[in-house]
Subunit: 248 residues, 2 copies
């Protein structure tokens, strides 16, 4: 059962995408929408708030709402799982485990993940046949067994963990910057040592806020771009100075 406001939001998004409400045009007023969908004003407001949060619609007190853009927002899963992102966008993708071993957590890792033992995994991912991503992931001890049980060529770790032990990745924090390719990075990605890589470090937790994994993903320059929309009201992305909270 999908909520009423979500169905209204979907219809409005569709109207924007198909040009019923072109970019730059005014959205109908809340009163109009409420009458059209036979819903209360509050419900319509909730629907429009979804589009505002997606950056598709601009809104300010007193003035009519304006259509800003058409870009679709993608799911949480697509940001966390390379495989789910690639599949949703119609790319051919693959991946394989290069190295994997259990070890004792360092002090920083123990603090981050809340466990003494961790599982270290190095993966290489390909997009359209080209190597594009080196993934260094450290899993908390309590999921180590489940991760070790996966096939080495497992395409989507996220999905496999959900299927095997019902694990849900619910929250994430991401740090994005640029680094030079090291010797190993360069060899795996087929680039020269020192060439630029886009780095995404992230920590992922369950619904309960329990850390599951800590990962350092490095994309070959030009292969992937991160995109974000913000407004004077909503600002999810944040800039930080270089001395990092997560260390090297």
């Amino acid at each position: 059962m999908v909520a009423r406001y979500e169905r209204i939001a979907d219809e409005l998004r569709d109207d924007i995408l198909t040009g019923v409400h072109p970019i730059g045009s005014q959205l109908p007023t809340e009163a109009e929408l409420a009458a059209r969908y036979r819903a209360a004003r509050g419900t319509v407001r909730q629907a429009v708030a979804v589009l505002v949060a997606e950056g598709l619609v601009g809104s300010r007190q007193g003035a009519r709402r304006i259509v800003l853009g058409k870009a679709r927002s993608q799911s949480f899963a697509e940001l966390h799982s390379f495989a789910q992102w690639a599949r949703a966008n119609g790319y051919r993708y693959g991946g394989q485990v290069i190295a994997q071993k259990r070890r004792v957590a360092g002090p920083a890792e123990a603090a981050r993940l809340g466990t003494d033992e961790v599982l270290d995994v190095l993966r290489l991912r390909t997009l359209e046949g080209e190597p594009v991503l080196v993934e260094r992931t450290v899993y908390a001890g309590w999921v180590a067994a489940a991760v070790e049980g996966l096939a080495p060529g497992c395409e989507s770790v996220t999905e496999a963990l959900y299927d095997s032990i019902g694990l849900v990745f619910a929250y994430g924090e991401h740090l994005i910057d640029a680094v030079s390719a090291g010797v190993l990075d360069a060899r795996l990605l087929g680039v020269r040592r020192g060439s630029p890589l886009l780095r995404q470090r992230r920590i992922t937790t369950t619904h309960e806020g329990r850390p599951v994994e800590w990962s350092d993903d490095r994309y070959r320059a030009g292969s992937v771009v991160f995109s974000i929309r913000n407004s004077i009201d909503a600002n999810p992305l944040v800039r930080q100075a270089g001395d990092l909270r997560f260390g090297a």
Copy 2:
């Protein structure tokens, strides 16, 4: 007059920051908060929704809300304006115009900015005395005169434009990736040619959705990190493949 729900959100955020509600702990229920602040449940829900959107609090139906983290989200201005970001975080900063000239817009620029003539500005920004950012900005023709009227060493273009012509930067779209330093980048930033830079390209518009500027900002590796929180419900950041919508 600040809204009630915003003040409640501020108090709750403060309680999280100061450890009254430690990370991992449960937030009081909506009923409790409503009683404490003598507000309706709806108002409390709005306040908590702010924290959820900031990624500080996790929320799902049926379960008590959980404190996820402490990071404060920063203002829209701080993402758009290097000066405002640096000042808010207590850094010493500076900047100067390297080159500036009017020219005819290319077809791509005309489509993006909606004007025939544009103003091209190249700036170098410093943080703590070190050059960290090369900024190539293309302004739409209708703001060109105002930008040209600024002092060459103007610290915050955003603020200066607001003061001079009341211009408000309201919405932005950002693309983040990694590139190699070109000859000019390298000389200005004091790094070797080919060394990695973190690139942020953005287009900014007014409240009405009218494009104001298009910018290509390149940060020296290690000087700045972008940070984002997301959840399975809210996902502002998006990943894109390398063939970019904004061209080279």
